[in-house]
């Protein structure tokens, strides 16, 4: 089983290897897809292996995968696969049009592979210090992706991203230190003592005061990566300026990895401090994020910024669901994470196709998508509805679960407020995307792709992602249900 876990983290590095060997866009893209496919396959296999077995642990606790980690690894590997598929067409088109030099193409795949691999490794470690190291390293790798186009706007976005996230993650390190300090009574001398399973099992012996501080610092610190308001300010710029497949990775994989770290801290805090304090923290940050996300979506402009604010909103929803807690709340949160990852991948990947064809990222200059490019336009429309939580897509089901969890756990004010904000977000978001897909397309649209095969490869991740979203909206596969229940059992 350890071999599987190692393969998951090393798989995406094929992109790095081929890029270093000097491959061109097409070959490097295919290598990246193969690597991502290996990682995704191994993640699925590992989840099957974990069923009915104790968590995978080894190397003094540096390697630790339980169903929760396995579930996140599967989500991130799945997003990596979709984004790698989307990268093939995007980077080929950029190379052909002269947007990317050969050096930029190699840089893109090198950092894409590194970014995915570091994130997957972060999900597979039990040592909380190493978790910090890997999350910070993945920030740096993804910052290089954000700034890759080298224009002053993208460099500025990359700078904002790297400086705010680094500061945030450093604060999370301070939180980790206070967590270890709260365990002074446990004499955490050995490496094993600093791991999550050990601390969780001995949560009753932790000192409550430092633990409260540790949890708050961790939520602020890792919350900066997640994009919880008011630490979200880097997010819209970075998502708007990165190449679209990299935006998909940021929104659908990186934010989830940050949320994973928060969930680990939440489990320990919940076990020692009870529900009230963590709930207050998570509900505050969660509702602030939903409100900010929904309000900023009202403004029309760059459509990638719109999707980015929608990510802020959705991370807020997940934080609120974690705050509601209970089996229902956690189930809804995990399901929401998977669904949001799928929907946002489709949205950002289709936005890549749109910006290549229309040569703009302004929503007001895009019209008639459905008539001009039926596949992309249709995917954008359907994914918009999915991300807004309309049936029959997965997010409807998960948001319904979260609202139910709210009514079951807290005062009815919170779920009602949640419903109101969701309605606001619906109107704000749909106002922009509806204008993009309908109407008359401009006359002089040309395909940015040189060959038919490349054009098909851009449609593949859109169709795959939407199909998965539709399945999850109609029926939750038995295997997934088991994994979710086991994940909740790990932390609850």
């Amino acid at each position: 089983m350890s071999a599987l876990a190692v393969l998951i983290a090393l798989g995406p590095l094929t992109g790095l290897a081929v890029a270093l060997a000097g491959a061109r866009a097409r070959l490097a893209g295919l290598a990246q897809v193969t690597g991502a496919l290996v990682a995704f396959g191994c993640a699925l296999a590992l989840l099957v292996e974990l069923d009915g077995h104790p968590p995978l642990a080894g190397w003094d606790g540096f390697l630790y995968v339980d169903p929760l980690g396995g579930f996140f690894a599967m989500t991130v590997a799945g997003v990596t696969l979709l984004a790698a598929l989307g990268s093939v067409g995007y980077v080929c088109a950029e190379e052909d049009s002269g947007g990317f030099s050969g050096f930029q193409v190699r840089l893109y795949y090198a950092f894409f592979g590194l970014f995915a691999s570091l994130m997957l490794a972060a999900l597979e470690t039990g040592n909380l210090g190493l978790l910090f190291v890997l999350v910070e390293a993945s920030t740096l790798a993804s910052a290089a992706l954000v700034g890759i186009e080298g224009r002053s706007r993208s460099l500025e976005a990359a700078w904002k991203y790297v400086i705010i996230s680094s500061l945030g993650v450093t604060i999370a390190l301070a939180g980790t230190l206070f967590l270890f300090y709260s365990g002074s009574a446990l004499h955490l001398g050995s490496n094993l003592g600093l791991t999550w399973p050990y601390l969780f099992a001995h949560a009753h012996a932790l000192a409550p005061q430092p633990l409260r501080l540790a949890f708050l610092l961790a939520v602020v610190g890792y919350g900066t990566k997640v994009g919880l308001a008011p630490m979200h300010t880097w997010l819209p710029d970075a998502h708007a300026e990165a190449p679209s497949p990299a935006s998909a990775m940021l929104s659908a994989a990186l934010l989830n990895a940050g949320m994973y770290a928060i969930i680990r801290f939440l489990a320990i805090a919940h076990a020692r401090l009870g529900g009230t304090y963590p709930r207050a923290v998570l509900l505050s940050f969660g509702f602030a994020s939903i409100a900010i996300g929904a309000l900023f979506m009202v403004r029309k402009g760059n459509f990638k910024r719109l999707f980015a604010y929608s990510s802020v909103e959705h991370m807020g929803i997940i934080a609120v669901a974690l705050g509601f807690g209970g089996t229902l709340g956690l189930y809804g949160a995990l399901l929401q994470m998977l669904n949001h990852a799928l929907a946002k991948s489709v949205l950002f990947l289709s936005s890549g196709d749109v910006s290549l064809r229309y040569k703009t990222r302004e929503a007001s200059q895009v019209s008639g998508l459905l008539a001009a490019v039926p596949v992309t336009g249709g995917a954008l429309l359907l994914a918009s509805f999915a991300v807004l939580g309309s049936p029959p897509f997965g997010l409807f089901l998960s948001e319904l679960t979260i609202v139910r969890a709210g009514f079951a756990s807290a005062s009815p004010v919170f779920p009602l407020l949640l419903l109101f904000l969701l309605g606001l977000a619906f109107v704000a978001f749909a106002r922009t995307t509806a204008g993009m897909v309908t109407g008359q397309p401009p006359d002089q649209l040309t395909s940015p792709y040189r060959s038919k095969a490349v054009a098909v490869s851009t449609a593949a991740p859109l169709v795959l992602g939407l199909a998965a979203l539709l399945v999850l909206g109609l029926w939750i596969p038995v295997g997934l249900d088991t994994v979710l229940r086991h994940s909740i059992a790990v932390i609850g």
């Binding site: 910052a143 700034g147 002053s152 460099l155 400086i163 500061l167």
Partner: protein, 224 residues
Amino acid sequence: MESLSASSAAGVLLDLSGVLILLLAFACLASKLFNRYVVYYGAQSVVLSFAAGTAAVAFHSTELWILAALTLAVKGIAIPLAARRLLITRLALKRDAAMSTGLSTSLIAGGALTAFAYLVIRPDLLPHGTVAAAVVPLSTAVILLGSLSMVVRRHTVAQLIGWLIVENGVFLGAITLVATFPFIVEAGIFLDIVAGVLIMVVFVSGLTRQLAEASAAELRELRG
């Protein structure tokens, strides 16, 4: 892990180093010259490495010795040298004018944040009489001061130094609170800092070049 008492020789030395580190953070906040930022940061890292050495003697820990050596080599020497060579000399940076508040205002805010750090950390969080109870408020204050200088300064180089000061504050807390991370984690943190500084240097240089080109283009457009 045994906790160090504040009245032992090592405890007094650690406390003293903490105070020096805080003062150097204040010095950085009060300065307007890019050269000084780097000098103060370097000095702060040297003191931090001394503090790590003191803790290494007190705890008889090899890992802390390695940490002290790494701190001296990477943060005390390599990063200041690289920052001076790659940023300040190459981009001809002298005086930092991009501040959103005056120096006196930011110093008063810094004083208030230090008091806040003591108020938050002192009362019931840490057992009295240990060195941690004396040093952790100091390190919290250093973290807050570093963040403050990132907020009030708009120049990228100043923000970079601010982040490094925050990092130093966390390390000061780390050596008194937990004393040891596993070596691989320590090494990873250092690797992250080095990679972070490198990538930030690339962004800063790129941004400065683009800004220079942009202003040159404007100058050309306005001729005649």
